[in-house]
Structure formats: C-alpha cells, structure tokens
Amino acid sequence: MSLESIVHVCLAGLSTGMFIWLVASGLTLIFGVLGVLNFAHGSFYMLGAYCCLSALKIMGGNFWIGLLIGPLFVCAAGFIIERFFLRYVYHLALPYQLLLTFAFVLVFDDLVRILWGGGSLGSPSVPGLSGSVDIFGRYFPTYNLFIIIVGPLVALGLWVLIEKTWYGRVIRAASTEREMASAIGVRVPALFTSVFVFGTWLGAMGGALAVPYVGLLTPGMGEAIIIDAFVVAVIGGLGSLKGAFLGALIIGLVSSFGTRFMPAFDMFLTFILMAAVLLLRPQGFFGKAS
C-alpha cells in the first residue's frame, strides 16, 4: 500500500473522528457534570442538522447563517428537557435516568418525521469550502479538511473554558462536590441547566456541521451517531473531555483503516475495542480511578 493511500485513509479517519468528537464532547460534558448518560444527545445532533437546514433555507441559503441560528432552537429543547424533566430524576436509580432520555429519543425521532417528512433531505454546498484540494495527487474534500481543523479548536476552546475561566471553576467545583459548592453559594440547579444547554448546543453544532458532510439527512441519523459517541466516551473514560477527544481520534482511525482493510469487521473492531477498554481499564484512558 502506497504512502498516498495511507495518508488519505488517515485523513478520512481524522474527519470521521472529529465528527464523533463534536457529538461526544457534549455527551461527556453532561455526563461529567450532571452524571447522566444522555441518549437524547444523538437526537440533538439530528435536530441540529435539520434546524440548520431549515434556517439556511429561510435565511436565503447561506450555510454559515444556518449554522449560527439552527442550533439555538435545539438549545431551547435542551432547556425544557433539563428544567422540566431531568431535574426531577437526578435522585433516582440509573435506569430511570437513561430511560427518560430514551423517551426523548422516541419523541424527537417522530417529531422530525412529522415536521420534515420521513424521506431524506439533500444538503447545500458551503460557500468558500465546496471544492476539494489536491493532496499527494488525490483529491480530498476541503470541507472535511475544515472539520479536521474545527475539532481541535473546539477541544481547545473547551479546555480554556473549563480550566481558565470562572465559569469553568464553578463547573469543576459543582461536579466534584455538589453539596459543598451549593453551601458556598453556587446555584447548582441553575448551573446544571446551563451546562446541559451548553452540551446540547455542542451536539446540535455537531449536527449542523455534519449537514454538508453527510449529504443526506435522514430521521435515523441520531441513533447511529449516539452509539459511536458512547463508544468514544467510554474509551476515553466517562466524563473526561481529554479522553473523549483521543477516543474519537482512535475510533475514527480504527474505523477508516478497518473499512479499508477488513470491511466486513469494521463495526466489530470498534465494539471489541470498547469492551476491551471497559474490562481492562474501566475508567478509560483519562478517567479517574474510582
């Protein structure tokens, strides 16, 4: 196998990985702070994509406007879920929390079918990034290159937010010691709502950015990505953003090399990796040992 094709398989893996990272980042943030594994996160991704498409159609067809406006509608949905539903199940056992978010998956899947129809929708071209670039004599879509750059930027932004700002300090305080944070005057319920809405926005942005990448939007797109995001979140260590970023890179590369060399077993490979990490190092690469 030649160097060029290795480079191209790597690039494809990186762009896949960065997409999963965009979804897994919000999932991981919500799990790390609120302790809830959110099945509905895939639905936020799907809603983000559909809202972006509708917003850009209404606003005159510019993708960047859709990207800015679309995810805001999804944030409203996220706010309602946390404020009026999730807040009341934090004290319950794990199955209830998971199933509550699962109920929203069912609701949103059908809502998308009602609002946008059950068929697939085509997607627009992106002004400025529609062509492809020549890398070692083969063409690679410019947009995918753009995603490979956006992923690390989001990671950097999250790192600065969590480690360097006042808001991040409060988040870290509330996630390690909820009662103590509350005792020194942090309004924990409001903080949780804001973190959930921010996580929702991350998932919806992932979906909006995926609009030109996936080409066709279908009502089942959220369920496919949420499992990938779970795999990534588990491999990195549940709740660890650094781990999720690396996990996404690993899964992206494994699946693109898997598709290239053993197409029959690429899905099997990701899940065996997930099981192996859970068995040998359940806290993941970067999770804290409990």
């Binding site: 199940v89 509550l100 899940f271 099981a275």
Partner: protein
C-alpha cells in the same frame, strides 16, 4: 384473601387465553402470540433487571441467538420444532455464559455499556457473516413442521395450533420464573439489588449470582427469540440490535418494575397500544415516548404498582 384473589386473576387470565386460542380471529391469535413471546422475553429479562438491579442493553443478542440457533438448526439439521427450539435455547444459554462471564465484573453504567458493546458485536457478526446468517436478509423459509412424538405427529402449521404451543411454553416459563424468584437463589438476587455489600459480607459470591441471573435471563430471551422465528418463519438481523434490547425494559417499566406480573401486563399493554396507535397515525413512537415520560415522571410503579396501591 390476597392469595385467593391472585389465583382467581391467574385462572381468569388462563381461561381468556384459551378462549382466544379457540375462537379468536387470525389477527387476534397472531397478536396474542406476539404478546406471549414478548412476555417470555420480558419476564426472563426481569430476573436480571427488576430482581438483581442490573440494566442490560445486550439482551437482544440472546434473543437473536435463539432465533438464529433455531433457524440454522431447522434449515440445516432437522426441522423438528422442539429440537429447533432446544437448539435456540442452548445457543442463547452458551452465548450468555460467555458474554456474562465478562459483563458481571462491573455494575451500573459500566455493566450497561459492556452489555451494549457485546450485544453490538453479535449484531455486527450477524450483519456481516452473510454466508451463514444471510446478512441483512436474515434467515428466511423457516418451516413449522409437525411435532413428531414417536407414533403421533402434532401439526403446528396452523396459527391456532402454534398458539397453544406458545401458551404451553409461556406457562412453563411463568412457573419456572416464579420458582426462581421464590428460591433461596432468587432471594439472594433481591438482596444484591438492595444492598450488595451486605450480601458480600454474608459470604456470597456476587459475581456468581449475577452470572446466574444473567444466564437465566439470556436463556429465556433465547426461548422467546426461537418462538418468534417460528411464528414469523424468519430470523432477522435487527432483532440483535441494541434498540431491540430496549423492548423488555420498556415493557417491564410499563407493567411495573419489581412486580412479578409486571412484564406480562406490560407486554399486553405495549402490543395492544402499539397496534391501536398505528391504526390512527404512523407516529406511534411519539405517543409511546410521551407515555414513557409520564410513567417515569409520575407513575414509577407501573400499572401493577398503581393497581396494588389502589387495592390497599
């Protein structure tokens, strides 16, 4: 008094089931068959979920193991239905021993994620090993041959006759699971759910008991899968998908977690409700999601929970 009432309800339910089998229309018989199969799946699952307190997202894999075990046996070895069902159960049992051996090392969310990973591994194998499993087509043309018992052979090709076979196996399953729940083994499982540390200090091996519950629930899932494959004469790959593992969870939750009859009541409600909603709208998932929300937010005891509270 309570005991007599329960016996009365069970007898009444049995009488209704027999009447449905004798006089029901083709559609009602088919629907009731599906309710019974889902009941077996959910009751077995509840040994792990409601009784031991472990949430698995991988039980669809055992259901599919039962379906494919029966399908492969009847297509390649012999079409005897009972032998086929047995083959399906054995497949599911072996697979759940193998997967359970790894999964019971964790609890809570890590257990759920491990079962998800193993379940999806099984799904990807079924999906990709086209030459054996038929890939996305699944196994087609599974026949309901007559049950040969030495001198006599009982034909089950008619839905009505097959209905009674399922009913018989459902009753056997209910009795078995009832015995399991009320055995010392079942009481230890409930103890693990309530306080695993105390049970461990009493000298009980948590892992072995969890594995026991896991294998029991996986085996019943296999029985349900085998019966479903015979009913539909088809084993399909999406029966192994994680989203199918959600079915017994939802059913148990509707009927009532930690109640014995919850999974059965939930199965009836689940299938009847789904058929009714689908008459009016294609969007049954939306309504189902809303019902689920109401149950989780306000009625966590499920239907059986509400009824028994009301009876007091």
């Amino acid at each position: 008094m309570n005991r007599h009432l329960n016996a009365f309800i069970a007898g009444l339910a049995l009488a209704i089931m027999i009447l449905i089998g004798l006089f029901g229309s083709r559609f009602v018989i088919y629907l009731t068959s599906r309710v019974m199969i889902l009941s077996i799946f959910a009751m077995g699952y509840n040994v792990l979920f409601g009784r031991t307190g472990l949430l698995s997202f991988g039980h669809a894999a055992f259901y599919a193991a039962g379906a494919y075990g029966l399908g492969l046996y009847s297509l390649h070895v012999s079409s005897h239905p009972l032998a086929g069902i047995l083959a399906g159960i054995v497949c599911a049992c072996l697979l759940s021993v193998l997967i359970g051996f790894f999964c019971v090392r964790h609890t809570e969310i890590y257990f759920a994620m491990l079962t998800l990973a193993f379940g999806m591994m099984v799904f990807s194998l079924i999906w990709n090993m086209r030459s054996i499993t038929g890939g996305d087509d699944g196994l087609v043309g599974i026949m309901r041959a007559p049950i040969a018992l030495g001198l006599v052979a009982i034909p089950i090709i008619k839905p009505q006759a097959y209905y009674f076979l399922i009913l018989l196996l459902l009753i056997v399953s209910i009795v078995l699971i009832y015995r399991i729940h009320h055995s010392p083994f079942g009481l230890v499982l409930a103890g693990i759910r309530e306080n695993e540390r105390r049970v461990a200090f009493a000298g009980v091996s948590l892992k072995n008991y969890r594995l026991g519950a896991f294998v029991i629930s996986g085996t019943f899932a296999g029985l349900a899968g085998a019966l479903a494959a015979l009913l539909e004469s088809h084993a399909e790959p999406f029966s192994a998908h994680w989203s199918h593992s959600a079915a017994p969870i939802l059913v148990t939750l509707i009927g009532g977690l930690q109640t014995f009859s919850g999974p059965i009541v939930g199965s009836v409600v689940f299938i009847v409700l789904r058929e009714t909603i689908e008459r009016f709208t294609h969007n049954w998932m939306l309504w189902f999601g809303l019902i689920l929300l109401v149950i989780i937010m306000g009625f966590r005891g499920g239907i059986v929970g509400i009824l028994s509270r009301w009876r007091k």
